[in-house]
């Protein structure tokens, strides 16, 4: 089953996707930091929602992202 990596609420009107810490095909565990987004003054980690393999990246560096947006998918 695929589980979405969702950007949590950051309290900022907008955020910019910064980087992925993992590549498609990499194994991840729930709670691992898999990506990073930027709001003015802060770099915020995004965590894996489940154990599995990152199968898809849906956001890329410099993309403008917002809370609730799907950044990628983990296959359990």
């Amino acid at each position: 089953m695929k589980v979405a990596v969702v950007l949590p609420e950051l309290g900022a009107a907008r955020a910019t996707f910064s980087l992925w810490h993992v590549r498609p095909g990499d194994r991840v565990f729930e709670g691992d930091r898999v990506a990073e987004v930027l709001i003015p003054g802060a770099a915020v980690d995004v965590h894996a929602p489940a154990d599995g393999v990152l199968v898809e990246q849906a956001a890329f560096p410099q993309d403008v992202v917002s809370a609730g947006q799907v950044l990628g998918w983990v296959e359990e």
């Binding site: 609420e9 309290g11 900022a12 709670g31 003015p40 802060a42 965590h47």
Partner: protein, 243 residues
């Protein structure tokens, strides 16, 4: 219902550490972030200063640093790229760095709310010294009389904050002409330059502890002058109860 007197999230461990090298800071932060993300979240505050050098956050650029690599080497200014928000910071003696390590969820904070709160701590600090200051929404930090007096760059790792606010207490301001801190074209100012009060580094350090505790409602403060690694180990009776 949780008794607020026993809520670990409302107790603050403050480490007043003097001059701290960047490698030592990163190791200390990793430990404190780990503790803040545990089942009993612990809030900490590191107040220190750094040896001369430059750090570059995610929003910084080498273009903001005017001296060539050879000139930086001659001045003894190492350049480090660090995983925090914000731009370029020039670290010099006479600054005070305020690095809260706070469990955001336990305190009911969002990352943006925390950034705003840390800017407000900087504004409150300047106000205490009789200086009218304002937060800078474009390049987070604090401005006084149109010039930056503090710069802000934080990271949220595992739900806990790290890095923070660096304020110019009374540094030599001339070197700032060579570094566009946070990309701002104007050179920075300092509390001592703007204030008619007596401004000292120990006074600013103490004020930071009080302001951080007041801003986020910490009613119990434990002060340490060494990092947690140098503190005594748990008492034998506590160790005996480990499974």
């Amino acid at each position: 219902m949780t008794d607020p007197q026993h809520d670990p999230a409302r107790a603050l461990s403050a480490y007043l550490l003097g001059t701290l090298g960047f490698d030592a800071l990163l190791a200390l932060q990793r430990r404190l972030v780990y503790e803040a993300g545990g089942p009993r979240p612990v809030a900490s505050l590191v107040v220190c200063d750094h040896p001369p050098g430059i750090t570059v956050g995610r929003e910084g650029s080498r273009a903001h640093i005017r001296p060539s690599p050879e000139q930086l080497h001659a001045r003894g200014w190492p350049v480090r790229w660090v995983g925090r928000g914000g731009g370029v910071m020039l670290h010099l003696p006479g600054q005070v760095a305020c690095y809260p390590v706070l469990p955001l969820a336990a305190l009911g904070l969002t990352p943006a709310g925390y950034v705003a709160g840390l800017q407000a701590v900087g504004v409150d600090l300047l106000r205490w010294y009789g200086v009218t200051a304002e937060p800078d929404p474009d390049r987070p930090g604090v401005r006084a009389n149109g010039r930056r007096v503090a710069h802000l760059g934080v990271a949220v790792r595992g739900g806990a904050t790290c890095f923070g606010l660096v304020v110019n207490t009374d540094p030599d301001l001339r070197p700032f002409r060579d570094v566009r801190c946070d990309g701002d074209p104007a050179p920075m100012t300092s509390i001592a330059r703007e204030s008619s009060h007596r401004v000292t580094v120990p006074g600013v350090r103490q004020r930071f502890v009080e302001l951080v505790a007041a801003r986020w409602g910490f009613d119990r403060i434990s002060l340490f002058h060494q990092g947690p690694g140098a503190l005594p180990r748990p008492t034998p009776h506590a160790a005996a109860h480990r499974p």
